[in-house]
Every structure is written in structure tokens, then in C-alpha cells.
């Protein structure tokens, strides 16, 4: 018995994930500490971009205000660690709570707007949060922000320990979001992007799922902001600024907003490039702007989208049918079926209908006609 490509995939994917995780775990022992700082930042912004993508790529709502959540999480740490003695678990809970609450507010305020208007309203809301942090000098330190956020008591001193700490939180967060997006609520959120009218006609209360998306996105974005504050050791209005909101949009698009790990990849690419470019020039934002334009013009489906596109094309050239989904969740039908051959004998399919609910059409079609429709369907040319 030979392995089909699908069987091999089942082995290869977990193996790659395991190797990847091992490399990430051992990273502090391999690379110098400066690169470790960059790696930690990539993890933090990867989490931020992934959280952002729940609203952007999955729910299809172009938010330009996500810095508000990130910054709120950062300010929670700033205030809690300089003014209180709250233990870390409480700070973590507070950050999640503030992010969720802010997400609910954003979701509710944006219930009636779509597209460009949603973009403008989220931007306005984020600017309001920014303004609040900027003007309430006695609490937030205004323009100067809050300095001297210590990691003491969090993890043993030393960047490697903090890196592992961040890796753990980011890993758990990504796993939770991954699971969430596959749940009925997550799938309904994906349905928002595809068709709100279909979703409503199906029986979903569309507004509730829009708020859900913002709440989950806000919670994890705030978590990323919290980690950033611990990493950098300070908070300032820059954590709430428009530039950050725009940057996370580029991250998501560049990596591929239709893919769960696309935004993470985008974050890694942009932060890596920023690090590389800033050894030559201080004008990083010009490069970022150029990158934005190039992405918009040539890669609106992102790096992962391009890769999928190329793989599909080379697959077609090789004359084989492309596999169904990226997650390979095929279980019942076992993937694409050769054209013209129904997966099941149509006659055998018909008796199994009885007893599975009143939704069935009456099984009065003859076996012969069922077979012709089935084969006619499978022989129809696919785009």
C-alpha cells in the first residue's frame, strides 16, 4: 500500500509544527540577545496582528482603530505596575477585561456602519482613546507616557526567560483564537465577511456576531499591548497612535488576511524589514509606505495568498486536481473524486435518507435519474 499525498500531509504537518515549536523554544540558546529582542517583538506583534485579523480578515470589517486595544492593554500594565502592587495574574485579567470591554464598545458603536464608514468610525474612536491618554496627564503622564515598568516578579531576570514567557502566552492565545475561529461563533463571524444577509436569513443575529468579533479581537490585542509594555518597559501615546493601527493593517494584508497565520507572517516580515532597514536609514516610515503601496498593488491576497495561487497553478499544470481546503479536514468523502465517478452509488445513497428528519425532499426520484444528475454534476467543468 502506498501513501497518498493526503496521508503524507497528515504526518508532515504535525512534524513541521513540532520542529517549528522546538526551534522557537530553543531560540534563546541559539541567537544573540539583540535578535532575541526582535524575536520577542515579532511574537508580540504577531499576536496583535492575528487578533486584529479576527475583525479584519475573518469578519471582513476594515478597522483602523486597533491601536486603541493594544494601547489600552499597555496602559493597564503601565498604571498597574507603577501605582499598584497587583500581582501579574490580576494585571493579565485586567488587560483582557479592558480589551474586551473596549471591543464591545467599538462593536456596538459600529453596528450600523460598513466598509469605509466603519474604517473612519473606528479611527475616530481610537483617536478619542488616544486623546484621552494624551490629555489626562495626571494619570497617564500625557505625551511622556509611563516609564519604569519592571518585569521583576514576572519571570527570572534575563531576556531568555521573558522570551519564553511571551512565547507561552502568545502560543496559548493563538491556540485559543484558532479554536474560536473553528467554533460555530467563529464560523458565523467568517460568515459576516461572506454575506451578512445570508447569515441573517439563516437565523443568526448579525449584530451580536459583529460585537463578538470586536470583543475577542480587542481582548487579544490588549494582551499583545500588555506584553509590549513589559518588553519595552514603558508606555506612551504612540501605543495608541494611528500609525500603529495602520501598521497592523499592512501586517495582516502583507501576510495574507484570509489565512489564520498570514498576519503573524506579515508581522514577522515587517518587523524584520524594519530592523534591517533601520541599520541604513532612520526614515523607516517611507519604506513602510512604499511597502504598503506595493502590497496594495501586487499582493492584495498577501504572501500566503500568492503561495497558494502558485501552488494551485503548478498543480493544474501537473494535471492533478488541487486539494480542497488548506486544513485538509476531509473525512467523509476523502477529497476530490475523479470526474464522472460519483463518490457513492446514487442508488445506495437514497435509502439512507429515511429517518433523518422531515427536511428531506421526498425520495421519489428514480435511482436512474439520480445517477444521471449525479454524474452530470461531476462532469460539469469547474472554473
Amino acid at each position: 500500500m502506498h501513501d497518498s499525498p493526503r496521508d503524507r500531509r497528515h504526518l508532515v504537518v504535525p512534524l513541521l509544527v513540532a520542529v517549528g515549536l522546538l526551534v522557537l523554544l530553543l531560540l534563546p540558546l541559539i541567537i544573540p540577545s539583540f535578535y532575541l529582542f526582535l524575536s520577542t517583538r515579532i511574537l508580540v506583534f504577531g499576536l496583535f496582528a492575528t487578533a486584529f485579523n479576527v475583525v479584519f480578515g475573518y469578519a471582513g470589517m476594515p478597522s483602523l482603530g486597533h491601536a486603541a486595544f493594544f494601547g489600552a492593554g499597555a496602559y493597564v500594565v503601565g498604571l498597574a505596575s507603577t501605582r499598584t502592587e497587583l500581582p501579574f495574574p490580576v494585571v493579565l485579567l485586567l488587560a483582557l477585561l479592558v480589551g474586551t470591554a473596549l471591543g464591545v464598545v467599538f462593536g456596538l458603536m459600529n453596528l450600523r456602519v460598513r466598509g469605509i464608514y466603519l474604517l473612519l468610525l473606528t479611527l475616530a474612536l481610537a483617536q478619542a482613546v488616544f486623546g484621552l491618554a494624551f490629555t489626562q496627564v495626571s494619570i497617564t503622564g500625557g505625551d511622556n507616557g509611563i516609564f519604569g515598568i519592571a518585569r521583576e516578579g514576572l519571570v527570572p531576570v534575563g531576556l531568555p526567560y521573558f522570551y519564553w514567557f511571551v512565547l507561552g502566552i502568545v502560543g496559548v492565545s493563538l491556540a485559543l483564537m484558532w479554536q474560536f475561529m473553528r467554533s460555530p461563533v467563529g464560523m458565523a463571524i467568517t460568515g459576516l465577511r461572506e454575506s451578512e444577509s445570508r447569515l441573517a436569513a439563516t437565523g443568526y443575529r448579525v449584530g451580536m456576531y459583529r460585537v463578538w468579533a470586536f470583543a475577542v479581537s480587542g481582548a487579544f490585542a490588549a494582551l499583545a499591548g500588555m506584553l509590549d509594555a513589559y518588553l519595552v518597559g514603558s508606555v506612551s501615546p504612540a501605543n495608541l497612535a494611528f500609525l500603529l493601527s495602520a501598521e497592523v493593517v499592512v501586517m495582516a494584508i502583507l501576510g495574507g488576511a484570509r489565512y489564520f497565520f498570514g498576519p503573524f507572517l506579515g508581522a514577522a516580515l515587517i518587523l524584520g524589514l524594519e530592523f534591517y532597514v533601520s541599520t541604513f536609514t532612520t526614515r523607516w516610515t517611507i519604506v513602510l509606505g512604499a511597502l504598503y503601496i506595493v502590497t496594495a498593488l501586487f499582493m492584495s491576497d498577501g504572501v500566503l495568498g500568492r503561495i497558494a495561487h502558485w501552488r494551485q497553478r503548478s498543480g493544474q499544470r501537473a494535471g492533478t486536481a488541487t486539494g480542497p481546503g488548506p486544513d485538509g479536514s476531509a473525512t467523509s468523502s476523502g477529497g476530490p473524486v475523479p470526474d464522472g465517478v460519483p463518490a457513492l452509488p446514487a442508488g445506495a445513497a437514497l435509502p439512507s435518507m429515511s429517518g433523518s428528519g422531515p427536511a428531506e425532499p421526498t425520495p421519489s426520484r428514480s435511482t436512474a435519474s439520480a445517477r444521471t444528475t449525479a454524474s452530470a454534476r461531476t462532469t460539469e467543468p469547474r472554473p
Binding site: 467554533s183 445570508r198 437565523g203 448579525v206 481546503g325 427536511a359
Partner: protein, 251 residues
């Protein structure tokens, strides 16, 4: 008195100065197959949106299964047993056939608020989607994105999704729109084979199809009901012939 599946009383739908529907009163008893016909712009789709809850009428009321639903939004009516298809394919095109079905199945119970486990692992969902895909002969296409289905298959998917909620009232908005005659014929047969206990209200442009399927035909013209009668009577109604064929004196 027969129980009404769906009824409207004096429904008016106004968009600014444009009156899309005016004084539409319909009574569709349970189990009836009603076909709505009328020339382009007669207000058929607008009326459908009023019936399904996408639009709230500017006057009049809508009753679903004996309950006033005029102010109920679409998702609440869907949970009461109303399902609809759309004139233009309106599916979750980037998701697979199976995901489309399973999202629809989950909407019908508390499963729709489950956020901690896979949609496919929610008890009962996988078995029911398997059965539905089997019934409708989509099993071998289950893992393809809907966008890769042929247009005609997407038209059938509209009906599959509507039927997967086990509706009592089914609104079909031009199910054969855009189909080649052979496919249209096949789809019409699918519709005619739906269980009789489901009340069906259908917009149809093809007169042969309309008269073959209908228990009763309602003709809309310029937003209002022009005729509401048995198919064979509507077919010979002078005023109906006039709007479809033009005034005889014009010729």
C-alpha cells in the same frame, strides 16, 4: 378556518418618494404552493424582503404562522421556521459546501452561541450535514469551496441551505434565474418534489414553471396585487394578459 402560514395585510413599502409595494394583502394557507408573478419592477423581490424580514414595511402588517412578525428582524423569523433563497446566489462562497451546511444547521439551536468547540464536533451536526449532503447529492463536492461550484450547483445550494433548517415556510426567489433550460427543468423538479407540508411561496418568471407548480398564483403589478386566483383562471385573466402582452389595441 384554514391556518395561515403567511399573511400580509395592507403592506406598503416606500423608499423615499418611490412606492415599491402598496396595499398588498396576501393570505397563504399552510401547505399551499403560491407563485408570485409580475413584470420587472412589480415589487416581487421587495415583497419577499418584507416577508422575510430584511425590510420593515412602512405600513401594514405581516403574520407568520399566526403570529404578528411585522417588527421581528430576519433572524427571528428564520428561527420561527421561515427560510428563503435569494435571486442572486448569496452563499458563503469562500467556505466549503459542508461548512455552508453546518453553519446553517448550527443556527437553529443554542449551538449558534458555542465558541469553545469545533463547529463540526457539535453533537449531531456532522451526522446531519452528512445526511443532507447525501440527500442532495453533494457528498462528493462537500470539501470544495462554494465558489468552485458551477452556477447551477450554487442555485441548488441555495435550496439546500434553506431546506437544512427544516422550514415550515419556504420563500424561493426565482430559483431558476439564469439557468439553462435543462438545468432549470431539473431544479423545477427538485422544487416540485419538496415535501407537501412545507408552504412554498415562489417568485418565478417562467410561466410554464409557475403554472405547473402553483396551487394559486398572485400577480403583482406596480407594487400592488392585480390578480390572486387559481392558475388556470389567472392564465386567461384579461388584465394579466394585458400587462404581460401589452394592450391589444396597441397592436
Amino acid at each position: 378556518m384554514t391556518r395561515l402560514a403567511l399573511a400580509t395585510r395592507g403592506v406598503q413599502m416606500r423608499f423615499g418618494s418611490f412606492l415599491a409595494n402598496d396595499d398588498v394583502t396576501l393570505e397563504v394557507p399552510v401547505g399551499e404552493r403560491r407563485v408570485l408573478i409580475g413584470p420587472n419592477g412589480a415589487g416581487k423581490s421587495t415583497l419577499f424582503n418584507v416577508l422575510a424580514g430584511q425590510l420593515r414595511p412602512t405600513a401594514g402588517s405581516v403574520e407568520l404562522l399566526g403570529q404578528d412578525v411585522t417588527r421581528l428582524p430576519a433572524h427571528r423569523r428564520a428561527r420561527m421556521g421561515l427560510a428563503r433563497t435569494f435571486q442572486l446566489n448569496n452563499l458563503f462562497t469562500d467556505l466549503t459546501v459542508r461548512q455552508n451546511v453546518e453553519i446553517t444547521l448550527a443556527s437553529q439551536s443554542r449551538s449558534r452561541v458555542v465558541f469553545w468547540r469545533d463547529l463540526a464536533s457539535v453533537p449531531g451536526i456532522r451526522a446531519r450535514s452528512d445526511a443532507l449532503l447525501d440527500t442532495w447529492e453533494f457528498t462528493d463536492l462537500a470539501d470544495l469551496p462554494v465558489s468552485e461550484l458551477a452556477y447551477g450547483q450554487q442555485r441548488v445550494m441555495e435550496i439546500v441551505l434553506a431546506m437544512s433548517t427544516e422550514p415550515q415556510v419556504l420563500l424561493l426567489d426565482e430559483p431558476t434565474a439564469g439557468l439553462a433550460p435543462a438545468d432549470a427543468h431539473r431544479l423545477t423538479r427538485l422544487v416540485s418534489e419538496l415535501p407537501r407540508e412545507i408552504t412554498i411561496i415562489m417568485i418565478e418568471h417562467d410561466m410554464d414553471v409557475a403554472f405547473a407548480l402553483a396551487d394559486r398564483v398572485t400577480v403583482l403589478h406596480q407594487g400592488s396585487v392585480l390578480a390572486d386566483d387559481l392558475p388556470e383562471r389567472v392564465a386567461v385573466d384579461r388584465s394579466v394578459l394585458q400587462i404581460y402582452l401589452g394592450d391589444a389595441t396597441d397592436a
